[in-house]
């Protein structure tokens, strides 16, 4: 049989200091990037938040003859939109993405009646929150390039048209806040759920290790997003949730092996058992996560514009999630155990046990005992 690792004997726990150093370095880079951008005058915000979380309007426009970004920008300026981000679609040569911030005020509304005359008993529409004016304003700017294709026709069908708005996302400040809050609250509650379940099935120390590792993964992924200024939108959120799932899954696999080894071998030190468990499951770790990584890489390369940020987040997450199980979750569990006197942070049994035949698969299986802590 073909196989990656059979007899690995790496002292992973001994590497905890360099690991922690790497993690802190990445997190610091993220922090510096975020704080630097936030504090620099005229700089960008810490994160490149999409309209989902920040509010604003983004339109996907398909052109017959695509104008340059500068042409579009000056057209937008002429209707009073001074701030805009104009991007070419990476996978469709004839499309552009136009992103504009929230337009304050009542751009298209009739002038508000004087306060003493407006006590009408019933009402109707508001004159123009940004959600309503965003699309209309951009449309009026784009009309300088020619007319838009009719509502029920594609650009190809309407020969007289110069462009067609094929997609809009317009989110007001209230909805943006709502989506953001719901996402953060749900994710935090989800982590508490994970914490409780792992604490119930294993131990508080493992639960803490797994959850801190998950936090670490989310933060490292966010660090990548601030450093490279990738846009954070709803699909990135879905990707974050996905990577939280994978990261916890990875931690559980190793914890499960530690628990099993512990029951079979009560004399061995936890330090040693942790290392051995990581080594024993390394083959599975490489196969599973390698496959995930390659599948996600396919998404990044061929998945198209809409999935781009989603797959980028997953790509980072698939690496970080694997790494954090070994470098963060396990050392933290071990460290906590050492604090309560159940383990030591060094390899005390290295010499004693080297000659002993430990935890062979056969013995483990035959003498499996009920799970105890």
């Amino acid at each position: 049989m073909f196989q990656f690792f059979t007899e690995l004997k790496v002292d992973w726990m001994g590497l905890r200091k360099p690991f922690v150093f790497i993690s802190i370095a990445i997190l610091l880079a993220g922090l510096i990037s975020a704080a630097g951008r936030q504090l620099t005058d005229g700089g960008t915000d810490a994160f490149n938040l999409g309209v989902d979380f920040q509010g604003g309007t983004v339109l996907t426009v398909k052109f017959r003859e695509k104008p340059t970004a500068d042409d579009v920008r000056s057209a937008l300026n002429s209707v009073g939109i001074n701030e805009s981000v104009i991007q070419d679609s990476t996978d469709k040569p004839d499309e552009k993405l136009i992103k504009i911030p929230i337009i304050e005020g009542q751009a298209t509304a009739t002038p508000a009646p004087a306060p003493d005359a407006n006590a009408q008993p019933q009402g109707g529409t508001t004159g123009g929150t940004q959600v309503e004016v965003g699309r209309a304003k951009v449309k009026s700017a784009l009309d300088t390039f020619g007319k838009e294709a009719a509502a029920d026709q594609t650009l190809e069908q309407d020969a007289t048209a110069a462009y067609k708005i094929v997609g809009t996302d317009s989110v007001g400040p209230v909805a943006g806040e709502q989506l953001r809050d719901a996402a953060v609250i749900a994710t935090l509650l989800g982590m508490i759920g994970i914490l409780l379940f792992i604490a119930f099935r294993y131990d508080w120390t493992y639960a803490a290790g797994a959850v801190i590792a998950v936090f670490h993964d989310v933060l490292v992924t966010l660090a990548f997003f601030t450093v490279f200024q990738w846009e954070i939108n709803l699909s990135v959120l879905a990707a974050m949730l996905t990577l939280v799932g994978f990261s916890v899954n990875d931690s559980i696999v190793i914890f499960d092996r530690i628990r099993e080894n512990m029951n079979l071998n009560r004399t061995a030190s936890l330090y040693d058992l942790t290392n051995r468990s990581i080594n024993q499951t390394m083959s599975r770790t490489v196969v599973t996560n390698g496959l995930l990584f390659l599948a996600v890489l396919a998404l990044v390369l061929f998945g198209g514009e809409v999935l781009r940020t989603f797959s980028l987040a997953l790509l980072v997450g698939s690496i970080v999630g694997t790494y954090s199980t070994i470098a963060i979750a396990s050392p933290i569990a071990l460290w906590w155990q050492s604090k309560i006197g159940r383990a030591e942070m060094k390899d005390v049994t290295a010499e004693k046990t080297s000659g002993e035949k430990l935890a062979s698969a056969s013995r483990r299986s035959v003498t499996r005992r009920p799970v105890t802590r």
């Binding site: 049989m1 073909f2 996907t60 469709k92 009646p113 004087a114 005359a117 006590a119 009408q120 008993p121 019933q122 009402g123 109707g124 529409t125 508001t126 959600v131 509502a151 094929v166 809009t168 317009s170 989110v171 007001g172 909805a175 709502q178 719901a182 996402a183 749900a186 509650l189 759920g193 994970i194 099935r201 959120l237 879905a238 949730l241 996905t242 939280v244 899954n249 559980i252 696999v253 499960d256 083959s283 599975r284 196969v287 599973t288 496959l291 390659l294 599948a295 396919a298 998404l299 390369l301 061929f302 198209g304 809409v306 999935l307 062979s360 698969a361 056969s362 299986s365 499996r368 799970v371």
Partner: protein, 558 residues
């Protein structure tokens, strides 16, 4: 695993697989020959899987009913009515105060000297409905305030009413398969409207938000035969009532219907009239409204309307008392026409104005559905063109299939014969997850696909865990037949722990998350539950068959 249990397991798997195939690819009616052709299967698949707007195209609108404004208007109207009632009864009331600040809504009537607070309260409550208000009578004032529980109830009623009105409007407009429901927490007063296939929601939005607030009001003017009293400017109109507007008067613009455009083509500026407030009758009393052409000319439509019995009664009595006086037809705070009352009118009226057929139709439609209880503001608007949605599906599908093909190739290479086992389990997992999505009527969105992908990832992981474990046992010198069951037994605990952890966190995401997060959670939970079946039960049964043909194999292709 004896041969009997092996057969039972196989039957279960076959039954579940067939059911899965039926749910995903089968029609929801008696099958015909066409359902077995490629095109028939494709059509059924499209019918069965409920795609979200982000994948099939359409409009997604989140709006909020301004319930604060609703309560404010209610309070102001009641205050005005209370003051009028007290004054009509010749009670010494000096004025009224209104507080409407978003949390407190109260009306205070200030009493003159020698006034009996209780008598005032008594008199007011005869005319004004203040049952749900908390009354407070003191020496020099009577006040009513809305308790917060009542505020909540009233706000909720306003949203429900708005929901009904919007529903009748979009139905009359002919939007296909719309989704219209409350959105978010009840207190947020939000409504979600999804319209598949509607790419540019502008006209629907105008229709939903249209004010169509109709009022018939008395114009302050000398009676016929003098012409109706108008003023050239707002200021002049205000001057006529002493500079400041009393609570029972309004100044409104009046655009003369048949006014000729000026020589340079611009419309003449509107004149202004003073009307009595509140209105004699309003749009809530309408029974019907229709667009009719006055001259048969396309650009010359008007709206005729009729009242419900109660409104007709009120209107009839009032017109009977006011023959010769001028009456204004006010639409959205603009006087559309002013006419003197020739005789008592009961239930008919019309709005003249320069309407085209489509604006008159839309206006009649919104009048019929009734006026919204409060204004509406849009919080979120998303439109996805059908082509954009289709492109997302195509690109995502292409990449996913590529990834899947790679995973299958790798499993076959790395685990050889056992890889076939894994591939069967994986494909079955995808089929059954799809079937579960169809069965529960869940909507497949982009985040939902992410959940699906995570589910596939964990299905692969489950197989890898089992196989690696079996390999370990074999390496340790355990006979193949025993090693297989040991591998399953041990890996099972890990798989259950890992899946249950993720199911728990997904359940919480489902309970507390908003739309897109929920879509993710639903497909993931389904995929994980099915994973426990495919990766363990199915995979085990396949090995069972293998061993039943050769109970003591020397080696295993793994």
């Amino acid at each position: 695993m004896n041969s009997k249990s092996l057969k039972v397991r196989t039957l279960i798997i076959l039954a579940v697989t067939l059911a899965g195939i039926y749910f995903v690819f089968g029609p929801r009616r008696t099958p015909t020959g066409a359902d077995f052709t490629w095109a028939g299967i494709k059509a059924n698949l499209e019918q069965n899987i409920n795609l979200g707007l982000d994948l099939k195209g359409g409009s997604h609108l989140v709006m909020r009913v301004k319930t604060d404004e609703y309560l404010k208007t209610l309070t102001e109207n009641n205050a005005q009515a209370a003051l009028t009632a007290a004054q009509d009864a010749k009670l010494p009331v000096t004025g009224s105060n209104v507080v409407a600040d978003g949390s407190t809504y109260s009306i205070t009537l200030n009493l003159g000297p020698d006034a009996q607070g209780a008598a005032v309260a008594e008199e007011v409550k005869k005319k004004v409905d203040l049952i749900n208000w908390t009354e407070d009578v003191s020496a020099n004032a009577v006040s009513w305030s809305l308790p917060s529980t009542t505020q909540t109830i009233l706000k909720n009623q306003a949203v429900e009413q708005a929901l009904k009105i919007i529903e009748s409007r979009i139905n009359a407009f002919g939007v296909k398969e719309p989704t219209l429901q409350r959105h978010g927490a009840e207190a947020s007063a939000q409504i979600l409207l999804q319209m598949p296939g509607v790419e540019d929601p502008e006209r629907v939005k105008n229709l939903i938000g249209a004010e169509s607030n109709l009022m018939l009001m008395k114009i302050v003017s000398p009676p016929n035969p003098s012409p109706v009293q108008t003023y050239p400017t707002r200021e002049a109109a205000l001057q006529s009532v002493g500079g400041a507007l009393p609570p029972n008067r309004r100044v409104l613009p009046y655009a003369e219907r048949d006014a000729r455009p000026n020589a340079d083509g611009t419309q003449p500026p509107p004149s202004w009239v003073v009307v009595e407030y509140p209105a004699v009758v309003d749009g809530s009393e309408l029974r019907d409204a229709a667009a009719v052409s006055r001259t048969g000319n396309e650009a010359d439509y008007q709206i005729s309307f009729s009242f419900k019995p109660a409104g007709a009664q009120k209107f009839g009595e009032w017109t009977g008392r006011n023959i010769g006086n001028y009456m204004a037809v006010v639409l959205n705070d603009e006087v559309k026409s002013a006419a003197y009352i020739r005789s008592q009118i009961f239930d008919q009226g019309e709005i003249s104005g320069q309407f085209t057929k489509s604006t008159a139709d839309d206006l009649a439609l919104t009048l019929r559905s009734g006026a919204l209880p409060a204004k509406i503001e849009y919080l979120e608007e998303r439109t996805v063109g059908p082509s954009l949605g289709a492109d997302s599906i195509a690109a995502g599908l292409r990449a996913s299939l590529g990834g899947l093909a790679f995973i299958i190739a790798f499993m076959l290479f790395y685990y050889r014969g056992s890889g076939v086992n894994a591939v069967i389990a994986l494909i079955l997992n995808m089929l059954l997850t799809g079937a579960a999505v169809v069965m529960f009527g869940a909507t497949l969105t982009l985040p939902g696909i992410a959940g699906f992908i995570l589910g596939i990832g964990m299905a692969v992981d489950a197989n890898v865990l089992v196989f690696e474990r079996i390999r370990e046992e074999i390496r340790a010198g355990i006979p193949v037949s025993k090693a297989i069951w040991m591998g399953f037994d041990r890996a099972f605990i890990t798989i259950v722990d890992a899946n249950v952890t993720t199911i728990i966190s997904s359940l919480i995401l489902y309970l507390y998350g908003s739309g897109p997060i929920r879509g993710f959670a639903v497909t993931l939970i389904l995929a994980l539950l099915i994973n426990l079946f495919t990766a363990v039960f199915v995979s085990r049964t396949i090995y069972g068959w293998l061993l039943s043909r050769n109970p003591e194999p020397k080696s295993l292709s793994i």
